[in-house]
């Protein structure tokens, strides 16, 4: 993984000093709350329902075991001994003290970590696939490009106060696992006929209140032009993006208003000034970065292991875990392993300091000391020898990290919701828990098969509800917490059907009704599915009607009159 050089270190140390002084000036009254707010946000610090929320960047989802141990230490020393991994690869602490944040950052800087631009109206942490570099269907490793963008966007001076936040995702595989269509800029690596690397450039995607999928504005951008092209996009956005209404300030609204074609014209016109200029990336710089992402020292291993096959045959629990949590690898004899953070005893994505240390240990023993954060809010050991799977499984099991449900209904994505977040309309964690409890029978879960269920506590869509096969959204109806259900969203990532937004099934439900509603949807699917059809496939074949009928059958008509769930409009 990328290791800092002397410049990265110097910049980060000065950032910590700058921020420490900002906190001091805020405490002494030299900075007003309003003046301090954007400054702390650009350093990941929100003030939330109960306490500050502190978001630590995990650049493009890569962690070393040393970094994870430091996160464990920080969560223990400055928080309540746990953190929350988010859909954007980051780690959130829910209970730190503002006064401690400079010290936390100082400690993080020791291991090349920070909270730079994890919030605020600036270019945020760049994300990519959690299988980057090991994916059998990878065209090229996206991580060097993500690192190029990380460096370029860090304190890029012109774009620190954009109309709204700005998220970039890079995918290097034929199957897009980074949900590039739901980002402000999505970059899909391609090879042209000559075998050269470039990007398909998408602009204007986003979830939130107005979900829109990104549009292609460039079919093939040679990689050398990555930074100048992104700069051109941001300059157009910074100049013309709306600032009168935060809900209409994302680039997706500008692209929509201008039309993708006109937006593209503006970008190309601006790009003409930058193309081939000093920010053009040369081979030397790409190689400097790419050197950090070379394959680890793999051993020559046989593709399959008789001992593992035998254990799978004799131990159904192990077999289940292998079926769901172990993923193919481009290196023979190796596998990627998902360390599940979806044990029903903990909120989705939460991880205790003790668990982090256990995972760090596993990474050291079995995965070259590295791991990943997935946008499904799990951890991944990327390079595990197949022969070590039983040991990894046992060790993960001992810490509640072996839930064998990756890609199943209870591997749900869930935002912090009303328990923590002051923007929430409704709680989301208890809904997740109730669903996980209802679907605790593994045989049943395996029979249901692939099913993405995503929960957000409000329209901001931090839990990606729009793109869940089943999406659950917290809404506020006359001060009460209700839940709207959408069906048919997905992030399949397959060319031509990369991502879709779910359709609302009908009037919303009370918290108590949600598990039963999900159960009914699932039963409808099971009754109607053809061989090998996933929930999503059956839904796409049949449409909304049978699901809707099943869910609302027998409900009092009064319940149907409340579809105008009031959407709260706080900022």
């Amino acid at each position: 993984m990328y290791r800092y050089d002397a410049y990265d270190h110097a910049i980060l140390r000065q950032r910590v000093a700058q921020y420490r002084d900002q906190v001091r000036r805020w405490k002494s009254g030299e900075l007003t709350d309003d003046e301090f707010r954007p400054l702390r946000l650009q350093n990941g610090l929100y003030i939330q329902r109960h306490a500050p929320m502190f978001r630590i960047a995990v650049p493009y989802g890569l962690l070393s075991s040393t970094q994870l141990r430091k996160l464990a230490e920080v969560a223990r020393d400055y928080d309540r001994g746990y953190g929350h991994f988010t859909t954007r690869h980051n780690l959130q602490l829910n209970w730190p003290k503002v006064e401690d944040t400079p010290d936390i950052l100082e400690k993080l800087a020791d291991v090349e970590m920070h909270a730079i631009q994890t919030s605020g109206n600036c270019v945020r942490n760049v994300t990519t696939s959690h299988f980057a570099g090991i994916d059998p269907d990878e065209i090229a490793d996206p991580r060097p490009y993500a690192e190029l963008l990380r460096e370029w966007s860090t304190f890029q001076p012109e774009f620190a106060f954009l109309p709204r936040k700005f998220k970039i995702a890079v995918s290097g595989s034929t199957r897009d696992r980074a949900v590039t269509l739901a980002h402000d800029i999505g970059l899909n690596i391609k090879k042209n006929a000559a075998g050269e690397i470039g990007f398909e450039v998408l602009v204007g995607g986003g979830l939130g209140r107005t979900p829109i999928l990104a549009k292609v504005i460039e079919e093939f951008l040679p990689w050398q032009h990555l930074l100048t092209f992104v700069e051109a996009i941001l300059r157009v956005y910074n100049s013309y993006g709306r600032r009168d209404n935060p809900y209409k300030a994302r680039i997706k609204i500008l692209v929509h208003a201008l039309g993708a074609e006109q937006f593209r014209k503006e970008v190309l016109e601006e790009w003409a000034n930058l193309k081939d200029g000093p920010s053009t990336v040369g081979a030397e710089e790409l190689e400097r970065i790419a050197r950090h992402f070379t394959a680890p020292d793999y051993a020559a291993l046989p593709a399959s292991d008789a001992r593992i096959e035998a254990l799978k045959a004799s131990n159904p629990a192990f077999a289940r875990w292998v079926a769901r949590n172990v993923h193919p690898h481009k290196q023979s004899g190796y596998a990627a392993v998902t360390i599940s953070l979806k044990d029903p005893r903990q909120p989705p994505g939460d991880c205790t300091s003790e668990q982090m240390e256990a995972v760090a240990e596993l990474a050291d023993q079995f995965s070259f000391g590295e791991l990943r954060v997935s946008h499904e809010q799990n951890l991944v050991l990327p390079d595990v020898p197949v022969s070590a799977l039983p040991e990894v499984w046992e060790a993960a099991k001992a810490k509640g990290l072996s839930t064998p449900t990756v890609g199943l209904l209870t591997d749900l994505i869930c935002c912090p919701g009303g328990d923590y977040c002051s923007l929430a309309n409704a709680k989301s964690i208890p809904i997740a828990a109730a669903i996980q409890e209802r679907f605790s029978n593994l045989d049943y879960l395996f029979d249901i098969g692939d099913l993405d269920l995503n929960i957000s506590g409000c329209m901001n869509a931090c839990g990606h509800h729009h793109v869940g096969h089943i999406g659950i959204l917290g809404v506020d109806k006359n001060g009460e917490e209700w839940y709207q259900v959408t069906l048919g969203g997905h992030t399949d990532g397959v060319k031509g059907r990369e991502t879709a937004l779910g359709k609302v099934i009908g009037p919303s439900f009370s918290a108590a009704e949600v598990p039963e509603v999900v159960e009914t949807l699932v039963r409808t699917y099971v009754a109607q599915r053809h061989d090998d059809e996933r929930f999503l496939d059956t839904f796409e074949r049949l449409g909304l009607a049978p699901f809707k009928e099943a869910v609302y059958a027998g409900r009092r008509p009064a319940a149907l009159n409340t579809s105008a769930a009031r959407e709260s409009t706080h900022a």
Partner: protein, 202 residues
Amino acid sequence: MPDLIRRPQIIRSAPAPAIVADDFARLVLTVSADAPETSESAATVVLPSVADAPNLIVPLAVWQARRDELLARNAEGGKLGVSLAPGEEAEALAGDFAHLALIAVEFPKFVDGRGYTSATLLRRLGWSGEIRAVGDVLRDQFFLMRRCGIDAFALKEGKDLNDALKAFDDFSFTYAGAVDDPRPLFRRVHRGDASLDTGKSS
């Protein structure tokens, strides 16, 4: 009468950051939402005499509407600056550089970052004179502003000028190219070492 904003002292970043005396007055049109009929317009606002305000900054709209009068002031020994509000295009001034002593970029709220792009584009258009940040101008943005070509800072009223001077030292190195140095870090130094490069210039 229009508002005339004066800052007896401003900060300049070049040649070295310093607090300097300043005698420009910045004309701001008074706009009243309650009584629109009392609002001033670019066409009718009373311009101060050269004696009252020899050095004057006016909004772009006033410059465009009252060009001849303003040029006459220049002929009488006045100096002229034009201020760009967010949303106003830098290109609007491209043909006028010869008449201007400075261009001001307005930051009505410091979180409105359009001024960074305006300043960048002014430099690209070839403006080499002063670019002055005016409005909600705070020390925590100086470093960014300077990188975008802003070299004069009319600090927000009530903020400590001496304290603000320190902000230019926030960072010794930067990654991206910008107006101050269009080369990204990887073209300025040799990267990848555990100690700082002392070979190439920075």
